[in-house]
Structures are given as structure tokens and as C-alpha cells.
């Protein structure tokens, strides 16, 4: 009995991975073949990018501030409070900026994609679209994926900047350290490979969160309850996979750029 359950679960998992891979591949390849729905790209870029700006700014500011607060005590023990700026900027740009933005935007947009597309599936709007001769993959999925990739790139830059600013505010106003020193250290020790690492990651995270959101939305079954289930699955899967993939991307980038 237990073996049957394991067998069924394993088969279902493999099938889901196979379906997702095919889905993500088709969505990606659609970008290189007409028709392309450019107005949809812009609408989605607005929803995903501008719509997520406030949460990314808030998350960036608080995370940078917390980093400065937490690091100050430890660094003071070694007489190294001067490197707070370097610590905050490196951490934000290389790691926390991309991952935090990815997870925050997943919570907001992977869920909205899954619920929006899921509702369209259960109300037969997707079938209606196909019956009217329009490919829902091209019209709905591809624009969401590429808008997410583009917008996550810019949102990560915003999160990095806000994190460094938040850390600076805490350093100056709460830790009573020198602001010029903080920003000088944050800037001077920054190298191009650090920025490269921080800006490659959001491209992957944007693809992951949107393709998973759309995938779970498009395979929704079971009415409104199914829409809720798809939404939860999308957010959980996207967040976990972003953190998991981050580990591997970091490893690969460290191999490609050993000086990092």
C-alpha cells in the first residue's frame, strides 16, 4: 500500500516535471516566432514591474537596514565597523537583492498569474480563445514570461539601491557612524563580477516565477477550489525553486569567475 503511494507520487512528480519542461520550452520558443503580442508585453510589464515597485522598495530598505544593524555589533568586536558599507552592498548586490526580489515578486505575481489563468481555464475562456483561433500560449503565457524577466532585472537594481540606502540610513542615524565612509566603502570595493552575478540571477528568477505561475494556472482543474490550489502550488513551487536554483547559479558563477 505504502509502495503504491510512493510509486504514484513519484510518477506524478516526473510527469509534472516533464509537462513543465515542455511548457516552459514552448513559451520560450514562441518569442522567436510570430505572431507576437507586443501590447500584452507592455501591459504585463506595467502590472509586474510598476505594480511590484512598492513592495520591492520596502523590502530592500528594511533588509539593508537589518543587515547594517546586525552586522554592526559583530564588526565592532573586530574593530571593523568601517566595512559595514562594503558588507551591506556586497550582500545586497550579489545575493539578497536578486533572491529577495524574486521571492517577493513570486508572492505577488506568480500567484496572480496562476489565479488569473486558472479562472480563465475553469470558466472556459481559454477554450474560447482557442476556438477563436488564438493560441493562449502566445497571447497569455509568453508575454508574462518575458515581461517578468525584463522587469525582475530592473526591480533587482531598485532593491539593491534601496538596500544600500536603507543600510546607510541605519548606519548614520542609528549606529551613529560616518555616512561618507559607509558609501565610500560600499562603492570602492564593488567590482564588475559582483554586479554581473547580481544581474544574471534575476533573469533566471523571472523566468522561473512566471513560467511556474502560468504552468499551474493553465493546468487548473476542479473549479474555484482548483484555482486556490493552483495559486498556492505556484507560489510555493516558485519560491522554493528560486532559492534552490540560486545555490546552483552561485556555484556556476563562482566556477566561471573564480576571482569573485
Amino acid at each position: 500500500m505504502a509502495l503504491d503511494t510512493i510509486d504514484r507520487t513519484a510518477k506524478s512528480l516526473v510527469l509534472t516535471v516533464q509537462d513543465y519542461s515542455w511548457f516552459a520550452y514552448r513559451a520560450f520558443m514562441n518569442l522567436w516566432r510570430p505572431p507576437l503580442y507586443w501590447p500584452e508585453f507592455l501591459v504585463q510589464a506595467d502590472i509586474i514591474g510598476v505594480g511590484s515597485l512598492s513592495i520591492v522598495i520596502l523590502a530592500g530598505l528594511s533588509t539593508g537596514g537589518v543587515l547594517a544593524l546586525q552586522s554592526a555589533a559583530t564588526l565592532a568586536a573586530f574593530g571593523a565597523t568601517a566595512v559595514t558599507g562594503q558588507f551591506v552592498s556586497m550582500t545586497m548586490i550579489r545575493e539578497l537583492g536578486p533572491v529577495l526580489t524574486g521571492v517577493m515578486v513570486s508572492g505577488r505575481n506568480a500567484s496572480s498569474m496562476a489565479s488569473e489563468l486558472g479562472s480563465m481555464v475553469v470558466t472556459e475562456q481559454i477554450d474560447a480563445m482557442r476556438a477563436l483561433g488564438v493560441d493562449p500560449m502566445r497571447k497569455l503565457v509568453t508575454p508574462r514570461i518575458f515581461s517578468s524577466i525584463a522587469m525582475l532585472f530592473f526591480l533587482t537594481i531598485v532593491a539593491d539601491a534601496c538596500g544600500i540606502a536603507g543600510g546607510g540610513a541605519v548606519t548614520v542615524f542609528m549606529n551613529h557612524q560616518n555616512g561618507t565612509q559607509y558609501f565610500a566603502m560600499a562603492w570602492e570595493h564593488l567590482r564588475y563580477p559582483d554586479i554581473l552575478q547580481g544581474l544574471i540571477k534575476p533573469l533566471f528568477f523571472g523566468y522561473i516565477l512566471s513560467s511556474i505561475g502560468c504552468f499551474y494556472g493553465m493546468r487548473t482543474t476542479g473549479g474555484t477550489q482548483g484555482v486556490g490550489r493552483a495559486t498556492i502550488q505556484a507560489v510555493v513551487a516558485a519560491s522554493v525553486i528560486i532559492i534552490f536554483v540560486d545555490f546552483f547559479i552561485t556555484q556556476i558563477l563562482l566556477v566561471l569567475f573564480p576571482a569573485l
Binding site: 475562456q125 477554450d127 480563445m129 482557442r130 476556438a131 477563436l132 483561433g133 493560441d135
Partner: protein, 277 residues
């Protein structure tokens, strides 16, 4: 839309062959077959009413007819082309030649009625002025011109179905597929919808396949015609039926009846008798 533009209409002569043909079609999901060895055809100018209780595979059959689902076995010819193995890309072009009315209307809830009805025209990049005029014409046909700028959320269930009919008709389809167009509606609204279907049938003569479990609607379709002079649906003389409107009946995925209203009424099949009574 009140007078058909003959020059633009496709060839609907019987000699052109069946518009839709199912041959030994079977389909199962995970469990017993939903459809089993189903064979029938829809000829040019013909209206076929698919009867059967809920859950016998009527809607599945309709989706197969449009290539929205694929059969496990058998072949489906749509406009003479085998669609059961046709790639999705080619199916999109094939589907633009059909019009489909979904069970609950399936209107795009974030788009205005104008954009819903014009959806196909917008994708084809038809100029805005032409879109507006054709949408108004289609909405006038279903007597809902005043809803042009409204969102679907502000329409009643019956109005949504009528807008869905307008959307299906706007591109002058060569085959119409109706999925329970009166399901869940009150009798008065149902009659309005049936009147529209009769009007479409008698004015444009578009072949159609209509799924329903409501006998009254099916009989009304068969025993009435649209009087263009009176501008409304009127009963045919007693004992007469529309010769081009015939019936199919499904029982647990199997086609158990294919014939006229008179043959249906006289059928001795126990399931048909039970359904009729």
C-alpha cells in the same frame, strides 16, 4: 446582418460534402470511455441537435468537433480535413471557420462587450471603424446593441449567452457549435435564445451542431421557423417539422439514435423512451 451577403457566404450546397463527420470516434480520460465508436455527420445547411442527459459526453463531443480535444480512436473530418492528428498551429486556422457558443458564454471578463464580440477581428487587425460597424451589426442581430460598451459582469446570464452568439456569428462561420445555450436559464430567456438560433438557421442557413438536454428547446427548434416579415419565430403548420433539423442521442458515450423528430418520437429504444417521457 439582417440580409445575408450571398457573395461572402461559403459553399453550403449539399454537394460540397459533410461539413463535419465523426467516424468511429472514441475517447477516454482516466476511467471508462467518455465516447465510444461515435459516427455521424453534419451536412451543409443541416442543424443537428445532440440530446442526452447530463454527463454522457455531449460537451466533450462538441470540443472534439472543434479540435479542442483529440480522440483516442477514429477520425474527425472538419470541412473535409482530418483534424484528429492535425498540429495545433494548423487547427487555429481551421477553428476560425467555425463559431462556438460555450455553456456559460465564456466571455472574456476583462474585455468590454465590443472587444469580446470583435475578438477574432481584432486579432486579424481589421480596421477599428469596420470592427465597430460589424460588432453593432452582430449585436443588433441578438438585440443587444445597447450593451456595446458594457463589461460582461454587468450582463445577465441570458444576455451573456446572446453576446456569445454574436461573437460566434461575427466572422460568418461555416459551422456553428452550441454547447447547451439555454442551460441554467429561465424559460422566457431560453425561448429568446432558441428564437435567435432559429433566426440564424433560417436566415443564414449555417450548418450547426447543438447540444442540449432540454427536450422542449429541441422540439421548438424543430417545429418553428423564423418569419422574416414578422421578424419573429412562428410555429410551422401542425404536423410539419423543419426537414433540415434532425436529432442525435447519446447514452453513456454511445450514439443510440440518429434521425428525424418523427423517428425520435416513434423510437422503441428504452433509453429514448425514458428520456422522452
Amino acid at each position: 446582418m439582417n440580409e445575408p451577403a450571398n457573395t461572402m457566404l461559403p459553399d453550403r450546397s449539399p454537394a460540397a460534402g459533410p461539413v463535419l463527420a465523426f467516424c468511429g470516434v472514441s475517447l477516454a480520460f482516466s476511467g471508462p470511455p467518455v465516447l465510444e465508436d461515435v459516427t455521424f455527420s453534419v451536412a451543409a445547411g443541416e442543424t443537428r441537435i445532440l440530446l442526452g442527459p447530463a454527463g454522457v459526453g455531449k460537451s466533450v463531443l462538441l470540443k472534439l468537433a472543434n479540435g479542442l480535444l483529440r480522440p483516442d480512436e477514429g477520425s474527425i473530418l472538419l470541412f473535409g480535413e482530418e483534424i484528429s492528428h492535425m498540429p495545433e498551429e494548423q487547427l487555429f486556422a481551421q477553428r476560425t471557420r467555425t463559431g462556438m457558443v460555450f455553456q456559460e458564454g465564456a466571455l472574456f471578463d476583462s474585455l468590454r462587450v465590443r472587444d469580446n464580440v470583435a475578438y477574432q477581428l481584432i486579432q486579424e487587425r481589421v480596421p477599428d471603424e469596420e470592427i465597430d460597424s460589424r460588432v453593432r451589426e452582430a449585436l443588433r442581430f441578438v438585440e443587444l446593441e445597447e450593451t456595446f460598451n458594457l463589461l460582461p459582469a454587468s450582463l445577465s446570464g441570458g444576455m451573456k449567452r446572446r453576446v456569445a452568439i454574436a461573437r460566434a456569428l461575427i466572422n460568418q462561420p461555416e459551422l456553428l457549435l452550441y454547447d447547451s445555450p439555454t442551460g441554467g436559464l429561465d424559460p422566457v430567456t431560453s425561448t429568446t435564445i432558441i428564437e435567435l438560433i432559429v433566426k440564424e438557421r433560417d436566415v443564414y442557413r449555417t450548418p450547426s451542431l447543438l447540444v442540449t438536454h432540454r427536450l422542449q428547446d429541441a422540439f421548438t427548434l424543430c417545429t418553428h421557423h423564423f418569419d422574416t416579415e414578422l421578424g419573429r419565430m412562428v410555429p410551422l403548420p401542425k404536423g410539419e417539422t423543419d426537414p433540415n433539423t434532425t436529432f442525435l442521442m447519446l447514452e453513456e458515450g454511445k450514439l443510440i439514435f440518429d434521425g428525424s423528430l418523427h423517428e425520435l418520437i416513434r423510437s422503441q429504444d428504452p433509453f429514448v423512451r425514458e428520456f422522452l417521457e
